[in-house]
């Protein structure tokens, strides 16, 4: 089934321009790895970047810079083309953060069978992998900022529809939602937030203090 839920153009443009926090760059890179439609849009925004560079006022390089560059080429290995085929469940940019595929994820339980693994990114936004057992729900929560959720395995449903591998769900402060994993398979997602989630009910909020979600 082709990917149904994509990134917005403005998000891809911001990624092309290079102005997003690392955690968002990660989830966008992971989605684009799975979605040729968004890849084509992204590469179009890159073309605008190329045009901007082309029309930027030149800043003269110092005398001898070309000679220096040519001297550096002597020391530079001309990398050979090397086909890299990723057969894992995690797209390559995610594997770089996990240090391997699914079996390398260091899960920590956060209760009710739900597990998470926080990935090391800059602190302006948080990226974490979530494991939701088949048929289970993530506690009802809303967002102070933006949350993006990319499905890597299985599927979940929320008010916005059904999300399967490669689909990305974007929720902002106005949305309260309760994603429920499909019965057929445990669901693994990458979730990125730029502000802590707000859970309804006291107990999840206490748990949240310890789980950093």
């Amino acid at each position: 089934m082709p990917i149904q839920h994509h990134l917005e153009d403005a998000t891809l443009m911001a990624y092309a321009a290079g102005s997003l926090p690392e955690a968002f760059n990660l989830i966008i890179a992971a989605h684009v790895s799975l979605c040729d439609d968004c890849r084509a849009t992204l590469e179009s925004y890159d073309a605008i970047g190329g045009a901007v560079v082309e029309h930027t006022e030149c800043a003269e390089m110092s005398p001898g810079s070309l000679a220096q560059a040519l001297a550096r080429l002597e020391l530079t290995v001309h990398e050979a083309p090397e086909p890299r085929r990723n057969t894992g469940a995690l797209p390559t940019p995610l594997q770089d953060y996990v240090g391997g595929d699914l079996d390398a994820i260091r899960w920590r339980s956060i209760g009710m069978g739900v597990k998470q693994a926080i990935l090391p990114t800059s602190s302006d936004a948080t990226a974490r992998l979530l494991f939701i057992p088949a048929g289970a729900a993530i506690p009802d929560h809303s967002h102070a900022g933006t949350e993006m959720t990319l499905v890597l395995q299985g599927a979940f449903q929320d008010e916005g529809g059904r999300y399967a591998r490669g689909d990305i769900d974007v929720a902002d402060g106005d949305v309260t939602h309760m994603p429920i994993a499909d019965m057929a398979e445990d669901c693994i997602c990458l979730a990125v937030t730029d502000a802590p989630l707000k859970f309804k009910g006291l107990l999840p909020r206490i748990a949240q203090k310890f789980a950093r979600i």
Partner: protein, 218 residues
Amino acid sequence: MITQTHSSETRASRPPLGQATESVVLNMAMETKPLSTPDSSASNPEWAALMQQVRDHQDRAAFSVLFTHFAPRIKGFLIKSGADATMAEECAQDVMTTVWRKSHLFDPTRAAVSTWIFTIARNRRIDMLRRQNRPQPEDLPWGPEPEPDQADVLALQQDTENLAQALATLPAQQRDLIEKAYFGELSQSEIAKITGLPLGTIKSRIRLALERLRHIMK
């Protein structure tokens, strides 16, 4: 930092570009724009040929031509993006060395040389100014075709040129906004107000190139 207004919409159900009410709407009829002279253009097909010389023959003369044209532009771009002159010079050198080292990844059916060099410069900028890693989409594992159809290469360079022309003829205020975005000066919500960029043609072309590559793999 990030604001999304159409969070649960799919691409198909989104309102067409240009219907936004309070956005900066850029109207351009790109198909009717005249072409500039090839010598000075962003997508001069010659650049792609020079890159292929670098890739296939480690041609230092071809590299020198690319360096002379692009290094001062990269340096200018980095200074506009907030680097000081020394840092920008050093990074422009790095970017051009990367162009040499990674020339096998350049795919002229998907990107003009200016586009490809921009992506390297942007990544280097994030690395340098924010000291952050920038996650990249996975490379297509079967890489660029070694002998791409020249008609596809030319068509993509032409689309890039048309896009650059369309941008160049925008009112100064709108062009400034786009430049600011790429210099890293706009937030995501400010970027969201830029709509109506004429990406349709080039996007379809890149989409086709991607399909072709996927097909070759099978």
